[in-house]
């Protein structure tokens, strides 16, 4: 059945057959001045209170309704109902979709159109503090699973009519709604069009989280050109720089595109503290990134192939520790690293009541027993621990770093410091060759732009300087129109 039939019985029959065996399907039959009508909704998705107050009560109290069919429907719409969000719909597939999105549908006998009402009333989590983007001085509210609530959080912070929320939908079966959020006049129309195109290429049946979409938005590379944030204030900052945010229903985070490599090191706290401290923290994060990526590889490389690089005292300490363990440095570091990752994963997935136990047992077994039993050396343990902690200074990069560490570890073992250097160039090639919607991922460092690099990359300039000149993402050096 493609369209709403004029015969109410046919419509009822069709909807009942579609929702056969679905106990959440609700139908309330009505008599409107002698004309048959029915109100349809899905339990749990709608607010029964709103339905009663804004639809059923006005209809019951309306008295005699003039005309029949379409005329009656128009009268009800104009003069009887008090629902804020209501519209006509004649296509049955749309009606089904709206029902499953928390709308109520009123169909009147003799009318080939239905009246749909936005009466969503499902429970949603409050705007709690984001768990993965903790800020010292920033706001404490974060996105939740309702994209409409998330839109409101952004709108509350940006009271401008240039702020647009464009509706789209992905997922052949799930029909997951999403909102493309941007500032008109600031965003690049080419980038916006490209985002729309890439979303159209989404051909999965479901989109159960924003992560499903990212692989359709990015184009290869070790580091992603697509960012995620749980914070509405961060989204507002990004929108102002010409970026696009995608809010996906059911996901408490927003996707941000284009997303540059340097943005992985930027947090809102950097801008809420004084510039010199912001710069210091920024460099601390750069150092942590290098430490986290290269330390295990360099340690294995130097200990195995270039011990002459180390001062005598340090060399003696390391060789003394190593001589008491049964494994070579590489195997030892690899085992420790795997154990750490297993513990991390277990701590993450274990029920909250058990995660403390996992941490204690892991810490004791690895940190104390393994060393005292002579299975691993203390320097290797220290290197892996330092690497792991440093990785958390740049949490956005944890995923690529976890694998890169392993790659550099192997390179360091087989080709020494040179292997690490070759790996570094390979990584640089990958970074420099990747772009995010036409903007080079490494911009404004490579290609280099001194003004932008000394604004918010190498240093975090003061607000007076940040306020001057454009920081729009489309003005980044090397940016080009997509497809050029």
């Amino acid at each position: 059945m493609e369209k709403v039939s004029e015969a109410l019985s046919e419509n009822k029959e069709y909807l009942q057959s579609e929702f056969k065996n679905s106990m959440d399907f609700m139908m309330r039959e009505l008599d409107l001045s002698g004309t048959g009508a029915a109100l349809f909704a899905l339990d749990g998705l709608v607010s029964k209170q709103i339905i009663t107050l804004s639809i059923l009560n006005p209809l019951m109290e309306a008295g005699e309704l003039p005309g029949r069919g379409a005329e009656q429907l128009r009268h009800i719409e104009r003069a009887v109902l008090g629902a804020v969000e209501q519209k006509h719909e004649s296509k049955m597939d749309q009606i089904l979709l709206l029902l499953m999105s928390g709308f109520a549908v009123l169909i009147i006998d003799g009318c080939s159109e239905a009246l749909v009402f936005g009466v969503q009333g499902f429970e949603s989590r409050g705007p709690d503090e984001p768990q993965n983007e903790v800020m010292q001085r920033g706001a404490k509210d974060g996105f939740n699973e309702s994209y409409q609530n998330n839109m409101a959080m952004i709108r509350r912070r940006m009271k401008t009519s240039s702020l647009k929320f464009e509706k789209a939908e992905v997922g052949g079966q799930s029909h997951t709604p999403l909102a493309l959020c941007y500032l008109e006049g600031t965003v690049s129309p080419e980038i916006l069009e490209q985002v729309r195109e890439r979303l159209k290429s989404y051909d999965l049946n479901t989109a159960l989280g924003a992560g499903y979409l990212t692989s359709f938005l990015e184009r290869g590379g070790v580091f992603s050109g697509v960012g995620m944030t749980e914070r509405p204030d961060v989204v507002c900052g990004k929108l102002e720089e010409g970026r696009i945010a995608i809010l996906v229903e059911g996901t408490p985070s927003a996707i941000i595109v284009p997303f540059l490599f340097v943005e992985n090191f930027q947090t809102l706290d950097d801008y809420l503290t004084r510039p010199f401290y912001g710069t210091f923290i920024r460099w601390l994060k750069y150092a942590a990134f290098f430490l986290s990526t290269f330390l295990p590889g360099l340690y294995v490389a130097i200990a195995t192939h270039h011990p002459e690089m180390l001062p005598e005292a340090l060399l003696l300490k390391i060789s003394e520790s190593e001589s008491q363990t049964p494994f070579p440095v590489m195997a030892e570091t690899l085992i420790l690293y795997f154990l750490y990752e297993v513990l991390r994963e277990a701590g993450l997935r274990a029920p909250r009541s058990l995660s403390a136990t996992v941490s204690i047992v892991g810490g004791l077994v690895i940190g104390d027993t393994a060393v005292s039993a002579g299975l691993v050396s203390a320097p290797s343990l220290m290197v892996v621990a330092l690497t792991a902690i440093a990785g958390y200074a740049v949490p956005r990069l944890y995923e690529p770093l976890a694998l890169l560490r392993l790659a550099f570890l192997l390179a360091g073992n087989f080709l020494g410091v040179w292997g690490v250097m070759i790996g570094l160039v390979l990584l640089l090639m990958d970074l420099c060759g990747t772009d995010s919607f036409g903007v080079p991922l490494m911009s404004p460092v490579a290609p280099y732009n001194g003004r932008l690099a000394f604004r918010d990359v190498l240093v975090r300039a003061g607000w007076r300087r940040l306020a001057k000149g454009s920081a729009n993402v489309q003005d980044m050096p090397g940016s080009r129109e997509i497809g050029e």
Partner: protein, 356 residues
Amino acid sequence: MVQTRISSAQFFVAMFVSHILVTIALNAQYTGGESILDNIISCLLAMALGALIALPVWLCMGRDSVPELAVGSMGKLGYIVPIGYWLYFLLAGGSSLALFQIFLMDTVNPGFSAGLVTAAITGVALYGALRGIETVARCASCVLIVLLLGCGLVFGIVAVRFDAGNLEPLFQYGYSQTARGTALFLARTSLFADMGVLLPQVAGKKGRGFMGWMVGTAAFVSLTILLISGCLGRYAYAQNFPVYVLASLTEVRSLQRLDAVFTGVWMMCLIVKLAVDLYACRVCFLSMTGEREKKWPVWVTAALLLLLALLAVGDPGVQAILLDPWALCLCTVITGAGLPLLTWAAALVRGKGAGK
């Protein structure tokens, strides 16, 4: 193949990084004399001659590269130009790679296969070439930072060992060493050939970039040679790779020897050089095949490059030819000036201008 454009600064930075290899791999055996200091004059002479060699490339400069212009104006006979460039890039790349492997085997003698390192270097260079000139140029600017930091650290630390008494008078062993040094500096730069092939993809003030490259390279090379002479004195003459020895002398409180860092910097520069050359090979192939680019020739080129380097390391005869400064210098002049001049003349005769 999408031919993207890079800025003049990016191109000449990549060329600078590539050319630094000459200094890093400088030794008395190839410069042919005892006085390393004479090589400062050689370097300056090479720069002046280089400016002359590059002239025909400027004549041909337009929308098309020299190989494209050659094929466009001479038809199939013009294939000789891209093939000539390809052969040159193969020789130049093979020579640089072979020199690095010789260094690894003779001086460093690592506990693992040196061939594996050179194979890895070739692999990364190939990856860069396949990603495009933009990728390589951006990577080169990052390598430049590492190069400057690494060299700054090494030079800064060894500078305290500088003794003016170690400096010998210029030309005390005659002028032949200077001439050989000049040939070596010209031989080990593929800038002129790269310019002929890649300049149409470069935007901005190319003349200024070229001047910057000359001044920057001359300053860097002169400083390195001065430090080698001042810190090592006659000892430098006996060394296969004096810059390496210079780095080995470095002693920081926490790190005792920075020779591994020096080798790493050499490798990074080598990767950039090979990547640029392999990308230039892609442009040469494209000029012969038209719009449709096939990737396999560049893969084959990379494999041949590696093979040539391994062959040169294993066979002293091949090594002598491949590392002979005069022979490679001749190739540099032919590809840097000869081929562009021929192309320019052919284009002029056929009335095709310079592809503008």
